[in-house]
């Protein structure tokens, strides 16, 4: 090919660049994923980590000990939540507080997981607050099964794995089939459309138990994760979660016809829920006005329920209403998604 004169080449380069920009700005979905989504995500992260709440630590204390503890620990960065018995244990298990503080005859006892960043922070702040107190601080590990971060983390990780497995495996899988025109090709064969979708779901059904058994087994063997509730109920809840995210995956995939939009929509679904649904830290740390939304997100419901069964031994009476919420998410989204589904 003959090379263009410099002036013509510059013009071609300009027009080609302009054409790319026009293509970009004429696709509202792409514009949103490029500009809007990062802003929304930054906002959500800001809420979590830059909230006006004072920095510090929050510890659970019994009413009987609260006066004695407050007299010793006056530092405002050490916040105390007065809770008794089961409520206190639940707050510890759910990671809503960093540990427990007790007033004893010979001083202050602090029960924190010193292997976690939050536990170390709580210890430092309490020790600083009691610097002039000759009685000192006795630090001990939390009671067995109370406030163990692994017990908090692994049910959440399992829920996260179910979400990612279903959304990427089914949702993105269907988008990818459409983008490669395979969905259209398969739809033109005698194979029923229900079977086409079912084949994608079934492939995931085979993979999910393997993925999750490996994850849970790893947690039990390496971190001593506990299972206080019924393993059968735990599996049933995980299956309800898989139904929820499969339905959401079908809805997410129903009309996407652009590669960038496919990645954008998947990230928009998975990243915010990963952050706000209490996988790595309790979702109660977000501002209270956000709680009514966050607590009904499918990942929140699933993670909290798996945690309640494995850590607190929650039974069917506690689990059933939440399982119905998960099934409603899945069936509702699947119905809407299938009605709007585009095969080409």
């Amino acid at each position: 090919m003959r090379s263009l004169p410099p002036r013509a080449r510059l013009r071609a380069l300009f027009l080609f660049t302009k054409a790319h920009l026009l293509e970009f700005f004429r696709e509202p979905g792409v514009v949103f994923w490029a500009f809007g989504f990062p802003l929304l995500l930054s906002w959500a992260l800001g809420l979590a980590f830059l909230s006006p709440k004072p920095l510090g630590t929050e510890l659970v204390v019994s009413k009987a000990d609260s006066v004695a503890v407050r007299s010793g620990v006056a530092d405002p960065s050490v916040r105390l939540r007065v809770l008794e018995g089961e409520e206190a244990v639940r707050a510890l298990r759910r990671g809503e507080v960093s540990g427990r503080i007790l007033a004893e005859a010979d001083g202050i006892r602090l029960e924190v997981d010193t292997a976690s960043q939050e536990g170390v922070m709580a210890r430092l702040l309490v020790e600083r607050s009691l610097a002039g107190d000759s009685r000192g601080v006795v630090v001990s590990a939390p009671e067995a099964n109370a406030g163990n971060y692994a017990d908090f983390l692994f049910p959440g990780m399992l829920a996260l794995g179910l979400m990612n497995g279903c959304l990427w495996g089914i949702g993105f899988g269907l988008m990818d089939l459409r983008l490669r025109k395979l969905l259209r090709l398969f739809a033109s064969t005698p194979l029923s459309r229900v079977d086409i979708l079912l084949s994608v779901v079934l492939a995931r059904v085979v993979l999910l138990p393997i993925e999750n058994t490996l994850l849970w087994g790893f947690g039990m063997l390496v971190f001593g994760v506990h299972m206080h509730g019924s393993p059968v109920l735990f599996v049933a809840v995980a299956a309800s979660g898989a139904v929820a995210f499969s339905g959401i995956g079908v809805l997410a995939a129903c009309r996407v016809g652009h590669n960038q939009a496919a990645y954008g929509i998947m990230n928009a679904l998975t990243i915010p829920m990963t952050i706000v649904s209490g996988i790595f830290f309790s979702w109660t740390r977000f501002p209270a006005w956000l709680h009514p939304v966050v607590e009904w997100l499918p990942l929140t419901v699933l993670a909290d329920l798996l945690r309640a069964i494995s850590s607190e031994g929650a039974g069917i009476a506690h689990s059933l209403p939440r399982m119905l919420v998960l099934l409603a998410w899945g069936i509702g989204c699947a119905v809407v998604g299938l009605r709007a589904f585009r095969w080409r």
Binding site: K181, L182, L185, S188, P190, L191, W343, R344
Partner: protein, 244 residues
């Protein structure tokens, strides 16, 4: 259905996208065993019409009947009769050639014997263990054709079946299609290659702006259009569209 009913019947079909009528009232009838080429410049409405014939999109007005059956009520039966070869479809790249054929044969309830027949027919026996993503463009196109005829369809709809392949591979595909014609299959193909239309088809349908402009055998069209070749006729059609 009786043998008298046409293989493909398009009855006053309209398809709109917003204010644009991609197909603006088309009537077309293709007899059993007939081979028809759909020609027209880009944007003429060929692919939209083909997609409606394939049952992938629905007409806003009118009706399409395949072998006398309606897409509205007998879609399942139609899919068993219809083989489709889509433009630019990317077959699963990480499956072996024979695995893909096995998959498509299974959609038609056919087994290994059909896979062997197809491999021989499209001359891919030596490539049976190769991944679809690793074979040449010509091989890939023959593989796509093999998936379309996996169920031995009576009617074959091919959207630009030889686009992007070299002349040798194109001729190989023509030979396969001629074999299917000789066995009585009905062919409807869209193409930009005039020699392909002339060689493979009994009749050519010219489309422009969502309408059928003219149709007939190649000599009839050339006579009516006062053109020396289909290329000439096509260029006039495309040129007029550009001027408009």
């Amino acid at each position: 259905m009786s043998d008298a009913s046409p293989s493909i019947q398009v009855l006053s079909v309209v398809k709109r996208y917003g204010s644009l009528a991609a197909v603006a009232g088309v009537d077309l009838s293709i007899a059993r065993g007939e081979s028809v080429a759909l020609l027209g410049p880009n944007g003429a409405g060929k692919t939209t019409l083909v997609e409606m014939i394939e049952g992938l999109i629905h007409a806003d007005e009118g009706e399409i009947r395949i072998d006398g059956l309606s897409w509205k009520t007998q879609a399942g039966a139609i899919r068993g009769k219809l083989g489709t070869c889509l433009q630019d479809a990317k077959l699963p790249e990480r499956l072996h050639v024979e695995e893909i054929l096995e998959l498509f044969c299974s959609f038609h309830g056919r087994g290994r014997d059909r896979v062997e027949e197809l491999l021989a027919m499209v001359e891919l026996s030596d490539a049976r263990k190769q991944m679809a993503g690793k074979i040449s463009g010509g091989q890939r196109q023959r593989l796509a054709l093999a998936t379309a005829i996996a169920g031995e369809p009576d009617i074959l709809v091919l959207d630009e079946p030889t686009t992007g392949v070299d002349p040798a591979a194109r001729r190989q595909i023509w030979t396969i299609l001629e074999g299917l014609r000789s066995r009585g299959a009905t062919l409807l193909l869209t193409t930009h290659f005039m020699d392909e239309a002339e060689r493979l088809c009994d009749r050519v349908v010219l489309m422009e702006a969502g309408r059928i402009l003219d149709q007939g055998t190649v000599p009839e069209l050339l006579a009516r259009g006062q053109a020396s070749s289909l290329d000439d006729l096509f260029l006039r059609l495309a040129g007029r569209r550009i001027v408009e």
